[in-house]
């Protein structure tokens, strides 16, 4: 039995605090040390990816697996774009409106979707993201398949003009940090505990008076609204949006960020996954044509052999010996053989 005495606890929390301060300093100084606008762009995409991955993890924490994390990312991007280009609102007015509209929409859709946990939910979300993409493409008013160009950058806030990549980076970093603080508060509250309860045992949670449906809906609404916020930033940063940008790989990748970093690490997991998935393919560009294959293979290997993801593997390192590997391969062969039979 491990008995934590108070001095180890406070040392741990001091270590944690130190790590957070260092990380913050690095994140703030980073763009000042980097010349290349392209790298700054990648840093911005890392932040967006982290946010989207975190929304996946939030649903996962409540026992829901979504393949539609990109759906409300698109909803947010389009909503804010329309508010700014059609109604002539400023970005700073469109932002809270986008949040409210997305929250209402996700409440409506979620109320139907989260009735089915399990595989049904996975499929529904997968279809939903495709429907959103097709709808955006088919509706003339939303720019059709060609999308919408010349979306204005966020209006300047005093001296900050959001013209440079650096300023945009600071904006998305601020959004990301705000979301991290909020998510962290939620996870450590009774809401986070109720989510874990319905994930670990919906039956037991039910007998304790926890309404799985309402808590899942809450996770869906918070996650979707967060994704919409990221989408809102993306539209005004990238300055053009097309339905295709939200289809296909993006919707698969954001889920992988969370899996790769470590599913059980609801905030750090997506962050690490996003860094790796953003930068590794970039440096594989040398072998441009086969980059997606290598990235795909790396992912497969990690998911197959390190199901805890990177952080999970660091926390509980597998004692890698050959017999274990062999038995694992054996088991895979057996389950494959059984799969072939049935």
């Amino acid at each position: 039995m491990k008995l934590l005495n108070s001095s180890t606890v406070s040392r741990n929390s001091r270590l944690k605090l130190g790590a957070i301060i260092v990380a913050l300093a690095v994140l703030i100084i980073l763009p000042l040390c980097i010349e290349s606008d392209y790298i700054k762009h990648l840093l911005i995409m890392v932040c967006i990816g982290t946010i989207l991955g975190m929304t996946f993890s939030m649903l996962y924490s409540a026992g829901l697996i979504t393949l539609g994390a990109a759906a409300f990312y698109a909803v947010g991007a389009y909503t804010s774009t329309m508010l700014v280009t059609s109604l002539g609102l400023s970005f700073w007015a469109a932002l809270p409106l986008t949040i409210i509209i997305s929250a209402v929409l996700s409440l409506g859709f979620g109320a139907i979707f989260v009735r089915n946990a399990g595989v049904a939910f996975v499929i529904i979300t997968l279809i939903f993201v495709q429907v959103i993409v097709i709808a955006a493409g088919q509706i003339e008013f939303l720019g059709g398949w060609g999308g919408i160009m010349n979306i204005p950058r966020p209006d300047s806030l005093g001296p900050v003009e959001f013209v440079s990549k650096r300023d945009c980076y600071y904006l998305i970093l601020a959004i990301l940090l705000l979301i991290v603080v909020i998510y962290n508060a939620i996870y450590s509250s009774r809401i986070g505990r109720a989510w874990r309860a319905i994930k670990l045992s919906p039956n037991l949670a039910g007998t304790l008076g926890i309404n799985a449906y309402r808590y899942r809906l809450l996770a869906f609404v918070i996650g979707s609204t967060t994704a919409a916020l990221a989408g809102c930033f993306y539209a005004h940063y990238f300055q053009n949006i097309t339905p295709g940008a939200f289809a296909g790989w993006l919707s698969i990748y954001v889920q992988l960020y969370a899996v790769l970093g470590g599913l059980e690490f609801y905030i750090l997991g997506p962050a690490i996954g996003s860094v790796i998935m953003t930068f590794v393919p970039e440096y594989l560009r040398v072998v441009k044509e086969i980059e997606p294959i290598i990235t795909g293979l790396l992912l497969l290997i990690i998911i197959l052999f390190f199901p805890g993801g990177i952080l999970g593997t660091i926390k509980n390192p597998p004692d890698f010996n050959l017999t274990q590997l062999k038995s694992r391969l054996n088991r895979m062969r057996i389950s494959k053989a059984q799969g072939d039979k049935s």
């Binding site: 939620i186 109720a194 045992s201 008076g209 309404n211």
Partner: protein, 254 residues
């Protein structure tokens, strides 16, 4: 006064009649035993009371309100707690966290206050922690509090399951085979615990195969066989009932 009234419950699975026209009452502060051979329908009845199954016929009244048809969590919030026959815990959490989750329905402060860590919310959180520690103490789980539920021996998992249910402060507690798999001394101490739980004002309906435990613990016993209520009565009456002995096929356990 009848706290729980089982009225003409019939439950059919496909072609199988798991329960047929079963009726009985459980009075406040009683310990009532529900016994019968495997497959008699005991767990099915528990599942119906707690809302996991809906009866094909009949009604369940709790505190004079019909509860069959209500959601599981709703029934729980009305004050019915249960443990499952199979070990059902938050396996990847510690013993302490399991009990804290049991307290869920008693949080009063608004959720946003908890997020902002207002003084009131912090005080409530501390109260809940103290309460959880008290329950662990009562169930003699204190020394295991930081252990993962999955790592506990089977007997202690049963104890934890009851601790979680107690944390939700039920008025009626349904225990499905609480001492199965325990050695005699563990069984004896669990029986004592169940008595103390009743003394705290909790009504208990218990399914158990350990006849010595049931006979010594229960005020009243209901015997089910093949989905039908055979007899109901005091332990002494049940021990000497011909039909009961027959249902157990001459098992000399009674």
């Amino acid at each position: 006064m009848a706290l729980l009234e089982i009225r003409n419950i019939t439950k059919i699975f496909g072609g199988l009649i798991a329960l047929r026209d079963v009726s009985f009452d459980v009075n406040s502060s009683e310990i009532v035993g529900l016994i019968g051979p495997n497959g008699a329908g005991k767990s099915t009845l528990f599942n119906i009371i707690s809302g996991f199954h809906h009866p094909d016929k009949g009604r369940i009244l709790y505190k004079d309100v019909q509860i069959n048809g209500l959601e599981i969590d709703r029934i729980a919030r009305m004050g019915i707690g249960r443990i499952f026959q199979e070990p059902t815990l938050f396996m990847q959490e510690t013993v302490f966290e399991n009990v804290i989750s049991g307290l869920h329905r008693h949080y009063q402060e608004a959720a946003w206050k908890a997020l902002l860590h207002t003084p009131g919310a912090n005080r409530e959180e501390n109260n809940k922690r103290d309460k959880a520690l008290g329950i662990l103490e009562f169930m003699e789980l204190s020394s295991l509090k930081d252990e993962l539920a999955a790592n506990l021996p089977h007997g202690w998992q049963r104890v934890l399951a009851i601790a979680i249910a107690l944390a939700s402060e039920p008025d009626l507690l349904l225990l499905d085979e609480p001492v199965t798999g325990m050695n005699p001394s563990e069984t004896a101490s669990m029986i004592e615990k169940i008595r103390q739980i009743r003394e705290r004002g909790v009504t208990v309906l218990i399914v158990e195969h350990d006849m010595r435990a049931v006979m010594s613990l229960c005020d009243r016993i209901i015997v089910l066989n093949l989905g039908v209520k055979l007899v109901e009565g005091t332990p002494d009456k049940i021990k000497n009932d011909e039909r009961v002995i027959e249902a157990y096929l001459g098992k000399q356990v009674l």
